[in-house]
């Protein structure tokens, strides 16, 4: 096993990896930007190196600086996490050339899958169906317009270098194409430094189902089943489940085999995810893309398979064979994950940076929290606003939903606005509970939500008013001269007023 590794990431995923390091007795080296010097991932690391100013392109994306840091601290290997440089073949190559181990697939595999067009080509060659669309990047708006006409609307515009829904637009009719094309190009350029787009026929009411695969350097590639990630907003996943509510063993086998084929086609090593679009109507599935890294949502697979995917990544990266075969993999119960973002659901999910003044995370049976923050953490404007992941496990999907409701109710965050309130509504939504999901869920849910008139609880709002008034009164007392007396009298009084009639 490694002696020391550098984690080229921040936030909850850096902490997730630090935890496995601790469990394996590997020293964990964090990197951080100047804005992150006091971040939890730095505080939890054994060592930490500052790699530059706040802006990611001057710190977390600086290949040379990061590789140099790893050499400087004598790390054996680098784990990229997800996002940032996780899917940069250039980075993987630089790490290899520096004589260090990159905990991930080969740069070659990353390059093939890194461009969606070449990835689609690879899938076709491996005999896996893809969504009808262009295999080459679009030359121009005119090209886009012509192609769209050919396939017929609705169509999807996607960034060739893309991921995370950035540079992605659904276009319902020709009139929307130009502005969508421009925005998508702009976003793609900003996010990936590459504005090229491609176009796909839009599958209607599609489920986003992905397969977790794992390969080793001894030629075996296996799958750990599916994750349902249909609940997305702005083409970003917000709730993921394992297994899919469909929970169909045959489908799991078919999609698993297709994913393994694609993995084999690129001699895939380590953890990877093959994303499919599944049509609820035709029950056909199409290859979408492959993510050549650990996924944000890996915990649901860990909860249901009982396997530590990061631990397995380490193992494979040291050249050992996988610790399990396809036959060894089994699935117990049901897991659901919610991504907790510092965003305001009441304001179009706009980011809500700030200082976390109070934090109580849920715990107890069947609850797992992977958090990147603690009390008094600053959520800065510079990075992805996800502050934590809440994952729950239950024997059945219903039990998991019961747990999720309970855990969301326990979750307390003050100082910033989060998506917790949004999730609390989702988990009581009939369509969610029924499990009939597709990528349009959030749009429909938001409409239901808007139409529903909010019945406020009079007692609750009155208590809120009283609490505010108390807080006001306290302040008056404190600013008044005789404060301390009154304050302490109040405190003492409060302490004494214990006995309640029973």
């Amino acid at each position: 096993m490694f002696r020391k590794i550098l984690i080229a990431n921040r936030g909850e995923i850096a902490i997730r990896i630090i935890r496995t390091c601790r469990e394996l007795g590997v020293r964990a080296v964090a990197i951080y930007s100047e804005a992150d010097a006091e971040s939890l991932h730095v505080r939890m690391a054994d060592e930490a190196v500052c790699v530059g100013p706040a802006a990611s392109n001057q710190s977390y994306l600086k290949i040379e600086t990061i590789v140099a840091a790893a050499k400087e601290v004598n790390a054996d290997a680098i784990h990229p996490g997800y996002g940032f440089l996780a899917e940069s073949a250039e980075f993987a190559r630089a790490v290899r050339e520096a004589g260090l181990i990159f905990i991930g697939p080969s740069p070659e595999a990353m390059e093939i899958m890194g461009s969606k067009t070449s990835a689609r080509r690879a899938a076709v060659e491996a005999g896996v169906a893809i969504v009808p669309g262009t295999v080459e990047p679009l030359a121009s708006f005119e090209d886009a317009s012509a192609t769209a006409q050919k396939f017929g609307y609705p169509v999807m515009l996607k960034a060739a270098a893309g991921g995370g829904g950035k540079g992605m637009r659904l276009v319902a009719e020709s009139g929307e194409l130009r502005s969508a094309f421009e925005t998508a190009q702009a976003e793609a350029a900003a996010a990936f430094g590459d504005s090229s787009l491609y176009l796909e026929k839009a599958v209607e009411r599609p489920r986003h189902i992905e397969i977790q695969i794992f390969g080793d350097t001894h030629g075996s590639v296996v799958h750990l089943g599916e994750r349902e990630c249909s609940i997305q907003r702005r083409h970003q996943k917000v709730i993921e489940e394992c297994p899919s509510p469909l929970n169909d063993p045959d489908l799991r086998r078919q999609m698993g085999e297709a994913a393994v084929k694609i993995g084999r086609a690129v001699n895939y090593t380590g953890a990877g995810t093959v994303e499919f679009l599944f049509s609820d109507t035709t029950h056909e599935f199409y290859f979408l893309e492959m993510n050549t890294r650990l996924q944000v949502e890996h915990p649901v697979t860990e909860l249901v398979t009982g396997r530590d995917l990061v631990r397995e990544q380490f193992r494979v990266a040291t050249g050992e064979p996988l610790s399990f075969t396809q036959e060894d993999v089994d699935w117990q119960g049901h897991a659901i994950e919610c991504r907790i973002y510092a965003e305001d659901p009441a304001n179009n999910f706009f980011p809500s940076p700030g200082t976390i003044t109070h934090l109580r995370e849920p715990a107890g049976p069947g609850v797992r929290v992977d958090s990147g923050v603690t009390r008094l953490s600053e959520v800065s404007i510079y990075y992805d606003p996800m502050i934590a992941k809440l994952a729950v496990w239950g024997r059945t999907r219903d039990e998991a939903i019961d747990r999720l409701k309970r855990a969301l109710d326990e979750y307390e965050v003050s100082g910033i606005t989060t998506t917790l309130s949004f999730f609390r509504e989702v988990v009581t939504d009939e369509e969610f509970i029924s499990g009939r999901l597709d990528t349009g869920f959030i749009t429909r849910f938001s409409e239901r939500r808007a139409s529903r008139e909010v019945k406020t609880n009079q007692v609750e709002t009155d208590l809120a008013v009283i609490a505010a008034a108390l807080s006001y009164a306290m302040r008056q007392q404190q600013s008044a001269p005789q404060t301390s007396v009154m304050k302490s009298r109040w405190k003492i009084a409060a302490r004494n007023a214990g006995l309640r009639k029973s």
Partner: protein
């Protein structure tokens, strides 16, 4: 003490008595008698008969953000004795609607111009923050009175991007 409290649209009179860890309150015609514990500064545990309600308050001046059972409420407290007014900004009083930047970011596109008529929901300005492009829409049908930003401008939370009348 006698106070005025505003929650959302509703303003109500509030009579508050605090003694021996008990609070009695009259809000409009509703009367409450509670046991209270201050479990943390600005975190109150209310016992209403047997019911338990924990309220966490974050205060700035005399506006209070109260979270209770995972829901939060913005409450304004006005002490008539102190004649604190001008608190409820008159933004919503007459027919002008301002489009504010909800957080720091960069203006990437302006989709209309002063004088243009816009429909409710029409895109006015696109702001990029955290690599995400966000279209600021017009809150209502109206005429664009002013666009106060141009592409490339950096804006801070609360900056008025445009005004619709």
């Amino acid at each position: 003490m006698k106070l005025k409290a505003t929650l959302g649209e509703i303003e109500e009179d509030l009579l508050l008595k605090i003694e021996d860890g008990r609070v009695s309150a009259e809000i409009g015609d509703r009367v409450y008698s509670l046991d209270v514990r201050e479990v943390e500064p600005d975190c109150y545990l209310f016992f209403l008969n047997a019911e338990v309600h924990e309220c966490r308050v974050s205060a700035s001046k005399n506006s209070f953000d109260v979270s209770i059972h995972g829901r939060s409420y913005a409450v304004t407290i006005i002490d008539p004795k102190r004649l604190r007014s001008g608190q409820n900004s008159d933004r919503h009083q007459h027919g002008v609607a301002e489009i504010l930047a909800p957080m720091p970011g960069k203006v990437v596109r302006v989709q209309t111009e002063a004088g243009a008529t816009v429909e409710k929901g029409a895109g006015v300005v696109v702001v990029e923050a955290m690599k995400m492009q966000n279209e600021m829409k017009s809150p209502r049908d109206g005429v664009v009175v002013s666009i106060n930003v141009k592409p490339g401008d950096t804006v801070n939370a609360g900056d008025v991007l445009a005004t619709i009348e």
